[in-house]
């Protein structure tokens, strides 16, 4: 029983980070229809950005996190302007291929710049875990969950309650009408991509200190992000959040009770089942299957 509780807690913490990865990608993939294979690389960028800000510039921890997120947004914006905008008329496959190229280029640049040795990112939280009865949880992980929740909440507010958010949703629902209404389409595209990338960078910045920073850390992150997006439904922020939590818990329970070797299989099987029986995502109300 205690094991179960610990597994659940672990799963929720993990799931919170999956959610953060997911909502960034659901904007980019769900709204912009960009198959962004480089999403995980922004995650990596966030981690290395934090490391660099701490080690090279000497910023205090929370400022370093912020700097990494801003870096993610800037690189994302750059990417959109230089690579995606000229290709906007091309097919989704062409764009996907470009993002594969970006993925390879970014990862190997990280390898060149930082070397292959994993970097430990120091954080100001105490290492001794908090103990609540049979449960143990490290303070830094609590921070990650809290920060993720805050970012998710802020994103939701942005999308649902601000004019910018309305403009974004309008652009991706019906571009021509939005343009006729005076929405600056080009800028919205750039902002959306930058925002999604910033969220991925935030996930990396938060998780970097919990785990380690190394060049190939983004590969698995990309895959989990896509899974979460599908589970939650394309473009569905709340769905991505819940999907992320669900995936985290399912993985933890699978690893704990079935077999640790097949841990990732849990996620895959979950996806297959969801797609077979509820293809619009677990939480979608509207049907968007194509």
């Amino acid at each position: 029983m205690e094991q179960l509780l610990q597994h659940l807690v672990n799963g929720l913490v993990l799931g919170g980070t999956y959610a953060l990865l997911g909502i960034g990608l659901t904007l980019i993939f769900g709204l912009m229809s960009v198959v962004n294979f480089a999403h995980g690389e922004f995650y990596t960028l966030g981690a290395y950005g934090t490391f660099g800000a701490l080690a090279l510039v000497g910023l205090p921890f929370f400022l370093a996190l912020g700097a990494a997120i801003v870096l993610g947004a800037l690189v994302g914006a750059l990417c959109e302007r230089t690579l995606l905008r000229p290709l906007r008329r091309e097919s989704i496959d062409t764009v996907m291929l470009v993002m594969i190229g970006v993925w390879i280029a970014m990862q190997n640049t990280e390898l060149l710049v930082w070397g292959g040795v994993a970097r430990s990112i120091p954080h100001p939280f105490p290492t001794a875990p908090l103990t609540l009865g049979p449960l143990n949880i490290a303070p830094v992980r609590l921070f990650v969950v809290a920060a993720a929740a805050a970012l998710i909440g802020a994103s939701w507010l942005l999308i649902q309650r601000t004019r910018l958010g309305t403009a974004m949703r309008a652009t991706f629902q019906d571009r021509d009408t939005a343009a006729l209404m005076g929405v600056p389409i080009g800028r919205i595209h750039t902002i959306t991509f930058a925002f999604g990338s910033a969220l991925a960078a935030a996930a990396g910045a938060l998780l970097g200190p919990v785990f380690l920073a190394y060049p190939s850390m983004g590969d698995l992150a990309s895959l989990k992000a896509f899974s979460v997006v599908i589970l939650g439904g394309l473009g569905n922020l709340a769905g991505a959040t819940l999907g992320g939590l669900l995936l985290g818990v399912a993985e933890e329970l699978g690893a704990g009770y079935v077999s640790s070797g097949y841990r990732d299989a849990v996620g895959f099987v979950a996806i297959i089942l969801v797609l077979l029986f509820r293809p619009a995502g677990l939480f979608a109300r509207a049907e968007r299957v194509g």
Binding site: Q3, V117, S120, T127, N136, A255, G256
Partner: protein
């Protein structure tokens, strides 16, 4: 419409075909090196490469081998067996190397091995630990790293002193991890130690809490850990978070205790590590002077100290090949292969001499490397407490 495309195709082929190949008199002796220089284990591959470069420079500073300089031709196997095989092919056919060192991981090494037989070129295996490498009946393979069975034997004498009564295993889900669980499990059972659970983690996994929760529930006193240093860091940290209080013994020699202390901090305290090189007290190595000089040169070049526990493999691999070339008198593959059987000298790890291993008539060579145990105490690497008594 195919015109342009065909032209491209032909141009590419020609480019590959007419690129100049070297081959002139008074040429340096070329030694091929295949390592994972990109991908998830890029750090380790690069450490081995750095060690190899030190060996090359030392040899050349002392006049080379048989009066000729040593040149390393370095290829990246990208942690992919297909690439390892391609790299071996390219080295043998295009660069005409008479000997190779590689290829770090066991599946990369196994994938390159058929090429050795196809072209008759020997390879010195410097890291791979899978038993099958020397049991396949490939007479062109010579290994200086220990297979997991040898490692387990090396620890056997300390099992009682360590006070291991019930052990659990946590290993990376590769041939290395599985092989270690097999070998150490067998050894422990022979000594009457109870074996609890064996858990696995994917090579890229970062969250091992599920496995640790299961291990915590078994009530064992020792955890055997086999994986790369990054995952060891994460396991130790997460073990600390879960208050997993037990002895930790890492196997495989890639645990880089220095890096662990830096990155896992207090979580690493008290852990034991099986290593094949002790750069913290090089004088204790079989050839103390050589070991000390190697550490000094490594530091002089500004390489990270934590890489020494793997970098020495590169040095010993190249030194072994060089020794064989010296004995053979020429840089011809078959002569080098025959000379490798006669090699007997001391590298950074210790004495290197090959015994026959594998099916009769087509044996591979396996050396008996030295195996050491160290412990993290008071935030520093020290000889284990049980040895001081």
């Amino acid at each position: 419409m195919l015109t342009r495309a065909l032209a491209t195709f032909v141009v590419v082929l020609l480019a590959l075909g007419v690129a100049p190949t070297t081959g002139d008199a008074q040429a340096p002796i070329k030694i091929g090196v295949i390592q994972p220089l990109s991908g998830p284990v890029a750090a380790s591959g690069n450490y081995v490469r750095m060690g190899a470069e030190i060996a090359r420079d030392w040899l050349n500073a002392h006049g080379g081998v048989n009066g000729r300089k040593i040149e390393l031709v370095i290829e990246d196997n990208k942690s992919d067996p297909k690439e390892a095989a391609s790299a071996a092919e390219k080295l043998i056919v295009r660069d005409k190397v008479p000997a190779i060192m590689g290829a770090w991981g066991s599946s990369m090494t196994l994938a390159a091995m058929p090429k050795l037989e196809e072209y008759g070129v020997p390879m010195v295996v410097e890291t791979s630990s899978a038993a099958s490498v020397t049991k396949r009946g490939n007479p062109w393979v010579f290994r200086i790293s220990p297979p997991s069975e040898m490692e387990a034997l090396g620890l056997e004498q300390y099992v009682d002193k360590l006070g291991v009564k019930k052990a659990d295993f946590l290993a990376v889900n590769t041939d290395w991890g599985r092989g270690a669980i097999q070998a150490f499990g067998d050894m422990l059972k022979k000594r009457g130690v109870q074996v609890g659970v064996s858990e696995f983690m994917e090579q890229s996994a970062t969250d091992m809490n599920a496995q640790l929760t299961k291990i915590k529930a078994t009530g064992g006193d020792t955890l055997f850990l086999t994986t790369a240093v990054e995952q060891i860091t994460l396991v130790l940290r997460q073990g600390q978070e879960q208050r997993l209080q037990r002895k930790v013994i890492t196997t495989g020699g890639s645990s880089s205790p220095t890096q662990l202390i830096k990155q896992a901090g207090a979580a690493a305290e008290g852990s034991y590590h099986i290593v094949f090189f002790m750069p913290w007290f090089p004088e204790a190595m079989p050839d103390g002077k050589l070991a000390k000089a190697f550490v000094g040169e490594w530091n002089k070049r500004g390489h990270p100290f934590e890489g020494l526990t793997e970098g020495f493999r590169g040095h010993d691999g190249i030194a072994t090949i060089a020794e064989a070339v010296k004995l053979a008198g020429k840089d011809e593959p078959k002569a080098i292969r025959d000379a490798l059987w006669k090699v007997s000298f001391t590298g950074v790890n210790g004495p290197i001499k090959f015994d026959k291993d594998g099916p009769a008539g087509k044996e591979s060579g396996q050396s008996k490397p030295s195996i050491f145990v160290v412990q993290v105490r008071d935030g520093k690497v020290a000889l284990p407490d049980f040895l001081k008594k």
